[in-house]
Amino acid sequence: MDYKKLFPIFETHKELAYLDSAATNQKPEKVIKAIDEYNRKFNASPNRGSYGISVEATCQYNQAKGKVAKFIGAKNTEIIFVKSSTEGLNLLANSFSYELTKEDNILIGITSHHSNIVPWQEVRRRIGAELRYIYLDKNGEFDYSDLESKLDSNTKVVSFSHGVNATGILHDVKKVVDLVRQNSNAKIILDACQSVAHEKIDVRALDVDYLVFSAHKIFGPVGAGVVYIKEELIEGTKPLLFGGDMIEFVEEQETILRSGTQKFEGGTQSVEAAVGLAAAIDFVEEIGLDNIKKVEEELLNYAISELKKLDFVKLYHYEGIKKTPAIAFNIEGVHPHDVSQFCDFHNVAIRTGHHCAQPLMKYMGIPSCCRASFSIYNKKEDIDKLVVALIEVNKTFNNN
């Protein structure tokens, strides 16, 4: 099956080898059409009007929520739509800042994205709670004895990535959750941005308390993010945005907020983004996650084997470890920005820099690196193009 044909952007850019899906996915026709249709047929403010298209918009919004819930094994009433996973993580950190004290500690995976680090630093700044990090073993996975040693009765939050955006490592959520549950009463937050499009997520099976992901990491539009909150925790979790739609009664000095997940959705919700996300989930389910994973695994393995043949490429890859379809690497003596410039000239789009993971880069002992990440619209020729570009970089900079 030629999945590339389902993505219109490759009609516009026929030569493009887009290897930056971990940053953002390209959109299939199905998603583009759904958003277009929404704007042509029933764009209206949801939850407010009692006229035809507003009712329809509300219905579409709620159906999208239901679809997301089913996709990750949650109830409709456990799902909030936010703008992005960054907003979702800020919502959670902000909520915890009301209840944590300076005696408490927060445990973060060192492999976390800045969106799952900086908000917790703000919590620490505001209330003085301690920030601890789970470090890695020599295979790039979490050091579980390190994790265990850092859990105690004052550990209130453990927050980490399922898939590591910079290096593509897929952490063993079950192992982390088991250890946390055995050794603390901490609440567990999982950043599923890099796994939601590649692994079957079941929030009950994973037994996490909160989960976030962004729609644009799973073929959906930018502007939709999801926060899953375990039902019994909803009442105790505080909203981030206050304003319209999340209220019951507003007086001059006092307001009664809505109950359930409705209190988290202040302002006009993006039905357009919700509809796009729903279409993206339909898209994924029609193809099947297993099929997606099969294609991506083949591409990843091909990329690893081809890059291994280039002795000037340093791969940040560990054998026998579970991965998302992403590979991090550097070329000796060449700054990643220059690598990406050469790649651009070969119509190869890779990501370079610190990948919003400066603590991880420092932990790995590198200032920055390159990353190639794959999706179902990639083919082996895209990786071949990358190899050609890298050979040229090496020739130009290292005279080889």
Partner: protein
């Protein structure tokens, strides 16, 4: 624009040579950072009696930022602050897209050869990182005098 018009001999030489990439005894320092690509360069100047006695930089950067920093150091070393400041201002204006006079371009010497960076938005910050650092140093120096 082809790759060899960006990665010119000038850029590659300065990037490889790195004769200005060293730590010096200095009385003025300014760190510049480009978070998008990871360039992190500190300009070090030793200013005495309003003359840039010595100039160098340390840090990590791409070929463009490394070469541009190195070219800057060659250009302002030994110059009076007023001249160095003028050179820096003209370079930054050139990269912003302003037309310089023939005289101004001549004064920029090797730096004038970086002109085409103005057509590459993704590399402007790389090329100007150290120059903005020097600009800030001169501004602070002026402010301290007054």
């Amino acid at each position: 624009m082809s790759l060899d018009r960006i990665y010119t001999n000038l850029i590659m030489e300065h990037n490889k040579n790195a004769h200005n990439k060293r730590e010096i005894a200095c009385n003025c320092m300014e760190r510049g950072h480009n978070p998008n690509c990871g360039d992190d360069i500190t300009v070090q100047l030793n200013i005495e009696n309003d003359i840039v006695k010595d100039a160098a930089f340390i840090g990590i950067g791409c070929a463009i930022s490394t070469a541009s920093s190195s070219i800057l150091m060659d250009l302002i070393k030994g110059k009076k602050i007023s001249d160095a400041e003028r050179i820096v201002t003209n370079f930054l204006n050139m990269i912003k897209g302003e037309e310089l006079t023939e005289e101004q371009m001549e004064e920029l010497d090797e730096a004038a050869l970086l002109e085409n960076i103005k057509n590459m938005p993704a590399r402007v910050k790389c090329a100007t990182l150290a120059w903005n650092g020097a600009r800030v140093i001169f501004e602070k120096h002026e402010a301290n005098k007054n």
